[in-house]
Symmetry: C2
Subunit: 165 residues, 2 copies
DNA sequence: CTAAACAATTGACTTCATCAACTATTGAGG
DNA sequence: CCTCAATAGTTGATGAAGTCAATTGTTTAG
């Protein structure tokens, strides 16, 4: 447990950068996206540090937890999963091997295209996923301690950011 | 590049869960922290998916990028780094071995306690760190496309969330 | 029907992670 | 001084996750 004081180094003054271009007033409004993003990134990393531990609560590796989470939509082709994980297809083979060995997922040959294998969560996989999602939805202290106004605003902003387009 | 449509599964209606406990009104205001957090988590994961690729732009592994980022404060004991990365100390040995081999960091024996070795960024490590930080500060599309009002609000909320208590 | 494209796997290899065992150093008491 | 526990770092064995190159089947386009 390291202190948070060190992680603010990412927010160091960028005041020296003299891009006094348009709208370079007192508080450098041109940096607004960067300011917001840097702070958000800070919080992301603070939280991501214990994602492995969180996954371990369910005896999952971080990646397996990610897969279980994404696999709720129903059957998913291996290649789609590889694409989604931004990793090589060969990596997914071993990943699914291990998850299948643990009874979390099943490979099913596709009817339409016999090359592809569709991944489905087993019954036990679905059960695990529900517990996992509930756990993931627990807001960390930093978020939970915000005011209702801030939470509402944050929720709405995130909705707009994630809105498709 | 997979579509975002699938990742909204995390936001599925939790309406069926009948925890009609206290303050279970129309829009379930009791879930406000959870709502905000779940959306934030969504965005986090959408972005974290390409962190490895981002690190690779600097020929760093994801963990190495994390270390370079954290190592700006100055000398840091190996054990402190292990603690910060929430990983075993033996892991840090190999990690630092590789980074030292690439001339990014140096081990320096501590004067006070000859057991500990302090890590310092080399000159080239510092230079890399600056480029990395600049790259990390670039807001992703989802954030950059928000309105100025939203960005200001987001920045302020994040400041309050990260404020040390 | 042949050839290109694609889905998944395999094998060789690297990095990150763990644990257990070991070395060296520090620090506390007898 | 001497022993003993605790600490910092390394080493070795092992496994998960990542890459790339090559292979096997299966579609699909000419």
């Amino acid at each position: 447990m390291r202190d948070m004081s060190g992680s603010s180094e990412n927010l160091e003054r960028r005041g020296k950068s003299p891009h006094s271009g348009p709208e370079a007033r007192g508080d450098e409004p041109g940096d607004l996206p960067k300011q917001a993003w840097t702070l958000l990134f800070e919080l992301m990393h603070a939280h991501m540090r214990n994602f492995p531990a969180l996954a371990a609560e369910f005896e999952l590796s971080p990646v397996q937890a990610h897969v279980v989470r994404q696999l709720g939509e129903g059957p998913l082709a291996m290649s789609t999963l590889a694409n989604y994980l931004s990793c090589d297809a060969s990596n997914v083979t071993g990943l699914v091997d291990r998850m299948e060995a643990r009874g979390l997922v099943e490979r099913r040959s596709s009817e339409q295209d016999r090359r592809v294998k569709m991944l489905v969560l087993t019954e036990s996989g679905v059960a695990l996923r529900e517990r996992l999602l509930a756990r993931l939805a627990e807001p960390p202290e930093l978020i939970a301690s915000l005011s209702d106004d801030d939470l509402r605003a944050l929720r709405d902003i995130m909705r707009r950011a994630l809105r498709p387009q």
